[in-house]
Symmetry: C2
Subunit: 248 residues, 2 copies
Amino acid sequence: MFSKNTAKFIKSLHQKKYRIESGMFFVEGEKSVIEVLDSDFTIESIFGTNTFLAHYDPLIQTKGVVAEEVSQKQLESIGHYQSNNSALAVVKMKGNEPFEVSDKELILALDEVRDPGNLGTIIRIADWYGIRKLVFSPHTADFYNPKVIQSSMGSFTRVSFFYSDLSQVLEQWKLPIYGAFLGGESVHELEVIQPGVLVMGNESNGISPQIEKLVNRKLTIPSFGDAESLNVAIATAVLCDNFKRLMN
Amino acid sequence: MFSKNTAKFIKSLHQKKYRIESGMFFVEGEKSVIEVLDSDFTIESIFGTNTFLAHYDPLIQTKGVVAEEVSQKQLESIGHYQSNNSALAVVKMKGNEPFEVSDKELILALDEVRDPGNLGTIIRIADWYGIRKLVFSPHTADFYNPKVIQSSMGSFTRVSFFYSDLSQVLEQWKLPIYGAFLGGESVHELEVIQPGVLVMGNESNGISPQIEKLVNRKLTIPSFGDAESLNVAIATAVLCDNFKRLMN
């Protein structure tokens, strides 16, 4: 029996302060719930429709997760999706642990990327290009925001990340630091590139002056028309594509 | 004096059937209104705040456009933006006229791209890469949808487009036809590419079977990780970037 208190608790997880207070977030939809079941995240409980639970019962049993049956209407009233006829999982947030780095891989650093849709899309792009490590400045959108989880399309389960003072981290790593700027070197002109950290900046203001000082090479996506800029997720994809082409 | 009827008329333009009935659409925000004033679109009227009208009076006079003063609150009640302290323009839709093509340029064809945000973003990407001609299948999102106009960031003023049966148009043009597919040739492996038409497909189903038959070369963005796919606007940007790198 799905209680009012449970519903109230899940609804509270739409807000960052309650996610921090409880250490929990939620994941919605069949594909994402299955991906989080298959990941190294710890699931607190699953709320699923009769059809969903019947279909995935063996997997849910294997993982030893508590599952409760709910109606589609209940799912839609507690979650962020307008339409959800499958499931919602309440999941434990991971600790904010820095990862080890090497000079053999491309790492993404986001300097104040504020829009949750952009962050989720960037996580999906990172996963496409095999980039497994992302570091975020403190005011970058919250990884556990429902819109981030939704727009990452399950890719949030396959990346490591932490929030930190970017300048400290970048100085500590001693890796090549690349930054996306208007008016830098064209990525179409490069013949080789060393792996390192690619910094992407804020939607309106780009990379902050403090981080700009640490950037070794300013990279630009060449323009052939008249648009003033590209969206940050679009620019991330194009730069990652050029990096991967040159690195391989 | 801003009348109730005018407000009602502008609000009706949120819906496609009333845009078609009146032949009008609207454009919001300082940057986009200025760009549309500077374009070959015909403006029916501008509704601006005191500050906006004072600042742009010379330009508005030069263009011979009727302008009316409104409050920020009125702008926000008639438009699509949550916050608009500048202006809204009511603009005439263009006719659905096919453009001439040559074998020297890259053209984009969208096969059922349904999401207005994706269409607007693709128009902005086209403008960045100097692609001036786009053709849309009949069920692609409406170019004049407020979300398309908003997400194109003014780039809607700098492209030519028409809606048509894609297979007829593609057969008529006799140009090389490229399509974005999972499992085609990697765009990182290409050394040269002839200009032609790049077809991008629907968000869920990709390129339709009917159009697939007409595609001469299936292109793929190589994946280095585990995401199943990329968003269609992201894929459009990466493919245009590779085309432009190889064409130049």
